[in-house]
């Protein structure tokens, strides 16, 4: 069931939530976290849907802050989707008019689930310094998505300078299946890796992160090559005994080849937003490897004279 509260205040919203809890008894206190989505009218639909899907694994209170006309009189239009409407969590869509868009933290604070962790997500272009952002300051985990920026690689690089524990970027999350597959190929004995290659569409930060990760963990030079995509199309570990190579040209199924072994196919689908988000919500502690990798990526690219 959905409840509409036009031109409302946060105390009216809190009251509506409490009344709801009264009539069904308990219920909503199972929320494990508050997920604040900072978004706009164009993006909010997909973002809330992804959050609701991820909420099946992590029952949460979703607060979607939708920025509207900054010139208007300050006002909040609220739409409350109760638990059970579309999953175990509840969703509050708050349309913020006028200068309220700049003071979203004042709207968020009274609506956070008590004691539970707060996650902020910018599905569109995110702040350069998420931890200093008014909403970001309230959150233990801050999720951005560099891919949405006009210059995705530059966006990631400019943000990593301000890294604080709890920051993460979906360009890193989308990479987990690739990293997982590559790591599993090295669970078995293989020869020395002397170099590596990552091939992907241009302006694709995940590829640079993958290259940086391999370079950092294996301590070898990694070449970043360009293709027509979609996304990452290949990764190659060059060893004395031949190459360990993963190729994925269709964004769905990859071929793994290794020296002296038959080629194998692996389903390696590109991840949907909800899957990436669910992974982010699974762990709320700092991701040191992300920081290390992104910082390493910055130094590699600076050395190569890019983005400097």
């Amino acid at each position: 069931m959905t409840l509409y509260l036009p031109r409302t205040t946060t105390s009216q919203i809190s009251e509506a939530l409490a009344a709801e809890r009264h009539s069904v008894g308990g219920g909503a206190m199972n929320m494990v976290l508050t997920l604040v989505i900072v978004t706009d009218e164009a993006d909010h639909y997909d973002a809330v849907r992804a959050a609701t899907e991820a909420g099946r694994e992590h029952p949460s209170r979703v607060l979607a802050l939708i920025r509207r006309d900054p010139e208007a009189e300050p006002a909040i239009d609220a739409e409350i989707r109760r638990p059970g409407t579309s999953g175990p969590g509840e969703a509050l869509l708050l349309r913020l008019f006028g200068p309220l868009g700049e003071h979203a933290d004042s709207v968020v604070t009274p609506l956070l689930v008590p004691d539970a962790p707060v996650v902020a997500w910018w599905p569109g272009v995110g702040p350069v310094n998420p931890a200093a952002d008014p909403v970001g300051r309230l959150a233990q985990r801050r999720i951005t998505d560099a891919l949405r920026a006009a210059d995705p690689v530059g966006d990631l690089l400019s943000r990593i300078v301000h890294y604080r524990p709890g920051d993460t970027d979906l360009t890193w999350t989308r990479l987990t299946p690739w990293r997982s597959l590559l790591a599993s190929t090295m669970d078995q004995p293989s020869a020395w890796v002397t170099a590596a290659e990552v091939t992907a569409e241009p302006y694709y930060p995940s590829a640079d992160l993958l290259a940086a990760w391999l370079s950092d963990q294996l301590d070898v030079p990694v070449e970043r090559k360009e293709s027509n995509g979609p996304g990452i199309t290949g990764a190659r570990l060059i060893t004395g005994a031949g190459d360990i190579a993963v190729r994925r040209l269709d964004g769905r199924v990859a071929t793994l080849s290794r020296p002296d072994q038959p080629d194998q196919t692996v389903a390696l689908p590109r991840r949907r937003a909800s899957e990436a988000l669910a992974e982010e919500l699974r762990r709320l502690d700092a991701d040191e490897i992300y920081e290390q990798t992104a910082t390493h990526m910055a130094s590699l690219l600076n050395r190569a004279g890019v983005g400097a």
Binding site: A183, M186, L218, A278
Partner: protein, 514 residues
């Protein structure tokens, strides 16, 4: 400059303990599944294998070989498996995942005593090694009636399949029941032990793969709140219940002669008891965990008078959930004079400093009020009450209930003032619920267990020692029951025979209505 890294060496340079996003993935391997036409394979194992693949937890070099007495080709088996997956898998069906998985699916037709069939099986797995890069690692899952284990194990030995070389591994997975008493459990173990070393034998008690059961350890040992009262100073008694609302149904042939105690108490309930009563293990390694469980199981004591300290029953004809149902003795395939119990309850003690004098009441049964598994710690009453007797008349004992299934979660019951001018205290609940949809996304017990087998991670599998200790607890009771009369009839759809209620009433207690 970092230390030079040696790829392929341990540890894998791409796996960093700080990198918690990377899941544990099984290494290249073949899972050989015996009994693929069975209920368990279709409803649980095949779907779990698909779900693992879908979550990206199976390696590219993975093979699945089915073995059964059917005249099937690989494609026929793949089609059967496809159907099972479609019907029972938890994760959404993805064609790409299925196609990749089914490329490694093979089927070997044959009888279990047929040498040729096992030679063909051996050829098949070696072909998979060559074609799919499965690395010569084989897990044999015996989803078969246990009486067939000796035949299969001997065949695995004869055909050379059980033998590993060049650092590859062999593992064998067996399902309950692990015998029907101490002696048969030892015989069964001897059969398997003859061919596979103990660390290669994985006994499945699927309860231990359940999130909620693993959560018992998190609840007890990750928190400070519960452990201080988790002992005889505060706990009055413990009730462990596993109730089913169904009858024996199609399992008549298996069930009769086995009964509720062997089917459920020996494994699931005693494992739950061990997890609830054990001391904190020094680590979560398999050995440390099993050591604590074994200590507790070896400290379990039986009631002095088995007639007073146990109860059993058979469900009678009646009504359940609005439908007429037949009694146990009228079920198809059950002899009308059967003395097999469909309900069993017992009072056990745990002879340790922590639990001395605290009874553990265990009960299980079929055709009870509803399907539920839970562990309830019932606490002692407050030693002194400032409130008058009438004020607290409606208040029971505080309790902490670990709800294992369905509706997984934890409930804390305590007294609270009833709103109004008078001081009246009544029980209320504080509830934690995983929530239906929350648990839907969490892996099924069999997924977790199959992955653990392929990775070779043993903490969730009971060791032979635990099995034997459980039989030592149960055998004297079974013996007593065999010699003394018949199970009492109980009403279908209610909560068990009168003798079970008397068992607690004699101690001035009563069963919770779960």
């Amino acid at each position: 400059m970092k230390e030079p890294v040696m790829p392929g060496a341990v540890p894998n340079p791409l796996r960093n303990i700080l990198d918690r996003r990377l899941p544990r993935i099984a290494g290249p391997s073949v899972l050989v599944l015996f009994g693929v036409t069975g209920d368990l394979a279709r409803k649980k194992l095949l779907p779990a294998i698909y779900d693992l693949a879908n979550r990206g937890l199976l390696p590219p070099g993975f093979g699945l070989v089915g073995f059964a007495r059917r005249d099937w080709e690989d494609q026929d088996f793949a089609a059967e498996a496809h159907e099972a997956v479609r019907q029972h898998a938890r994760t959404p069906f993805r064609e790409d995942v299925w196609r990749q998985l089914s490329e490694g699916v093979r089927f070997v037709p044959g009888e279990l005593h047929d040498d040729d069939a096992f030679d063909r099986l051996a050829e098949t797995v070696r072909e998979l090694d060559a074609r799919r890069g499965t690395g010569g690692n084989y897990a044999f899952y015996l989803s078969l009636p246990p009486k067939l284990f000796p035949t299969v194990v001997k065949q695995l030995k004869r055909s050379g399949l059980a033998e590993s070389s060049d650092g590859s591994w062999r593992r064998v997975v067996i399902e309950k029941p692990f015998g029907h008493d101490l002696e048969s459990a030892r015989e069964l173990n001897a059969v398997v032990d003859d061919v596979f070393p103990p660390q290669s034998v994985f006994r499945i008690d699927h309860y231990l793969g359940k999130e909620t059961v693993q959560n018992i350890m998190a609840l007890r040992f990750a928190n400070t709140l519960f452990e201080p009262i988790w002992n005889r100073s505060y706990v009055d008694h413990v009730q462990i219940t596993m109730a089913e609302d169904i009858g024996v149904g199609g399992r008549a042939g298996y069930y009769d002669g086995i009964g509720a105690a062997r089917d459920v108490i020996q494994n699931h309930l005693l494992q739950l008891l061990a997890l609830v009563a054990m001391e904190e293990p020094v680590s979560f390694s398999a050995d440390a965990l099993r050591a604590e469980k074994e200590k507790v199981l070896s400290a379990v004591t039986l009631p002095e008078d088995l007639a007073q300290g146990t109860a059993r029953g058979q469900y009678a004809e009646g009504w359940q959930g609005g439908a007429p149902v037949v009694g146990y003795l009228q079920e198809d395939g059950i002899p009308p004079d059967s003395t097999t119990e469909t309900y069993a309850a017992m009072k056990l003690g745990v002879n340790t400093r922590r639990w001395a004098g605290v009874p553990f009441y265990l009960r299980t049964g079929k055709r009870l009020g509803r399907r539920v598994t839970e562990v309830a710690l019932v606490f002692q009453r407050a030693p002194h009450q400032v409130f008058s007797h009438t004020d607290i008349e409606e208040m029971g004992q505080n309790s902490l209930v670990l709800r294992i299934q369905p509706d997984e979660g934890v409930t804390l019951r305590f007294g609270s003032k009833v709103p109004g001018a008078s001081m009246e205290v009544r029980d209320v609940s504080m509830d934690f619920t995983y929530g239906q949809s929350f648990t839907e996304a969490s892996p099924e017990a069999y997924e977790r267990l199959i992955l653990d087998v392929l990775i070779g991670d043993p903490p969730l599998f009971p060791r032979q020692e635990e099995v034997e200790l459980s039989w030592k607890i149960l055998d004297p009771i079974e013996e007593f029951w065999t010699k003394n009369g018949r199970p009492e009839q109980y009403e279908s759809g209610a909560w068990g025979p009168a003798s079970a209620h008397e068992l607690l009433a004699r101690d001035g207690r009563q069963w919770r209505r779960p």
